[in-house]
Symmetry: C2
């Protein structure tokens, strides 16, 4: 005779069914018991997140938010993953230049392709924005969306960040990954709203952040519907900007693609100012947070806390920092608020 432990009672069978059929449900239950943000130090930033989730999800709370309205938006570069020394998508474009020149050899002696091919890093870093744009157009448009996806996927699988020697997709911040999961476990829908290319980020967002393509809003070009030589429908990426998803373009993009004002938003730069402002201006419970890069040892330090003038601190200027204080946005100090920065630490 088998012991009681071995015989599945109806209750045990139901529990097993539940474990198979509704993992999300069990995850919620587990979350309620343990710290949902183990990579965060105790402090005002962690407290702001936990309090916001509690007061918006507790039925009967005066700041309760119904589940369909639990929309949260995250900037990507510098907020969810490393943006220094240069955006990974720009590196992708530079890495694609040799292939572009192989297909069109006449470009080999034309700027800016000539400089990129030279491999002279300092000269490449000095390329002005309008020259860089020629590289972006040549490497991000003119192909079908499937061809682009195949090329970018191949690159993401093989390219390595120069400092950590790891795939770019591993350079995500563990504390922010915890915030994404914590919010989703509490019925929030998490979106990326990035100045980066929408088609590029969509390739890895599901695998890397658990965010499906339809929840990635980014800078987007026109695509053109047509047919290939076999008469099969294709969408071709055109060199024409449709949505510049940066600064004022972020709330505009949110309205276009989501159609609801977020209740919480996370950013790290002047490009996120309008998104944070717009989020905070809605009624009821609101959370706006900005990541301050002040940890030169574990990541980079380029925020105003370094005492540098605005022109030297990159995207997180002193005026943004002042705005944060004035507007009740919560600053996340990488150095003080994060116990760990990366999963591989």
């Amino acid at each position: 005779m088998r012991s009681m432990e071995e015989i599945p009672s109806p209750g045990r069978r139901m529990a097993m069914l539940l474990a198979v059929a509704a993992p999300g449900l069990l995850a919620v239950a587990a979350h309620a018991q343990s710290d949902p943000l183990p990579s965060w130090n105790e402090g005002p930033a962690k407290q702001a997140i936990v309090s916001f989730v509690k007061e918006t999800t507790t039925p009967g709370s005066p700041r309760f938010v119904p589940e369909p309205e639990r929309i949260v938006t995250f900037d990507q570069d510098g907020t969810l993953w490393v943006e220094k020394p240069i955006y990974s998508q720009v590196i992708y474009c530079l890495d694609r230049v040799p292939a572009v020149v192989r297909a069109k050899p006449e470009l080999a002696n034309v700027e800016p392709f000539k400089t990129v091919l030279s491999g002279d890093r300092e000269a490449i870093a000095r390329l002005p924005m309008e020259e860089l744009e020629k590289i972006l157009v040549a490497t991000l448009t003119g192909m079908s969306v499937e061809e682009f996806r195949a090329e970018a996927t191949k690159w993401l699988d093989t390219a390595r960040d120069p400092r950590w020697k790891r795939p770019y997709t591993e350079l995500t911040y563990l504390p922010m990954q915890e915030v994404l999961k914590y919010l989703r476990a509490n019925g929030f829908k998490t979106y990326i709203v990035t100045g980066g290319g929408q088609d590029f980020v969509r390739i890895y967002a599901e695998r890397v952040y658990g965010i499906p393509p339809e929840q990635v809003v980014g800078t987007a070009g026109v695509t053109k519907y047509g047919y290939d030589k076999d008469g099969k429908p294709i969408l071709t990426k055109e060199p024409k900007l449709l949505l510049n998803d940066d600064k004022a373009g972020k709330p505009e993009g949110i309205h276009l693609m989501i159609g609801r004002r977020p209740v919480a938003a996370f950013g790290n730069s002047g490009g996120d100012r309008e998104m944070l402002e717009y989020t905070k201006a809605g009624g009821g419970a609101r959370l706006a947070m900005i990541v301050l890069h002040d940890d030169a040892v574990r990541e980079y330090a380029y925020g105003p806390a370094q005492g540098l003038p605005d022109s030297k601190v990159g995207t997180f200027s002193q005026s943004l920092y002042d705005d944060a204080r004035k507007s009740d946005w919560t600053v996340i100090s990488m150095k003080n608020d994060w116990k760990r920065v990366f999963a591989f630490d």
Copy 2:
């Protein structure tokens, strides 16, 4: 002593918890036992839907589709609700003209506003497209997205269709409402992809179809981020087209807003041809369906089945019908396939 029936065993407690916590799960189980499409007559159209759902959701089926890829798109006007005698959004715009003229009295003697104010229905119906566009621009742009939402909501609550004397939002097809629910109960994400105005449809789509704003893709204009006189952020609807979500614009809009190719699509007109084509051209299980309006008694008849020349049948032409046959799209005959047309029948 209470009977066994009254004492909640651990198993019963779990079952009760499950009933409270996971209604979606139970809904799926219930669906499996009853007819999910009671307003459909037995026939090839109903069969196509049921077979598609079974083969794409049965684990181990050669045509199984993982849940994140279960994207289905529906045209709205003529596919989910009545589009005759004129699109309801156009009626909204015409109804708004008196208010526009009150705000700008100089328009009273300017065409096409003068004709609309005259109330002469035949003259209004004869207005050429470029004149009608002036009405759309004057009534759909120049205000904040919140002001537009408030006005359109008020109109939707009070306006009545001339034939059925009911709110437009009640003129949805019951059989299609069943398809939406049946698909969602089986893990499909349902989207509206409409040539109509995205901001307009988003106002009622959640209430009417259970489709949230972020799952409505429609014709969209530019919005401009700015500040009102109190310094509060606002988005203003600009008279500039961003996405013409009709014909080739439908797959383009799907790529922009969803980023995945649908596995099933439903339409009813030439404006849906490219969406059906694009959907069908993907690999694996695919379903493409078009609604044929052939029921003058219960709704309207304006399809090719009426033996009218293409120029007289409106949007569903003989060539579209021929395409459907050639491309293995399933035609839904309102007359033969639908037991009931409206919930109020």
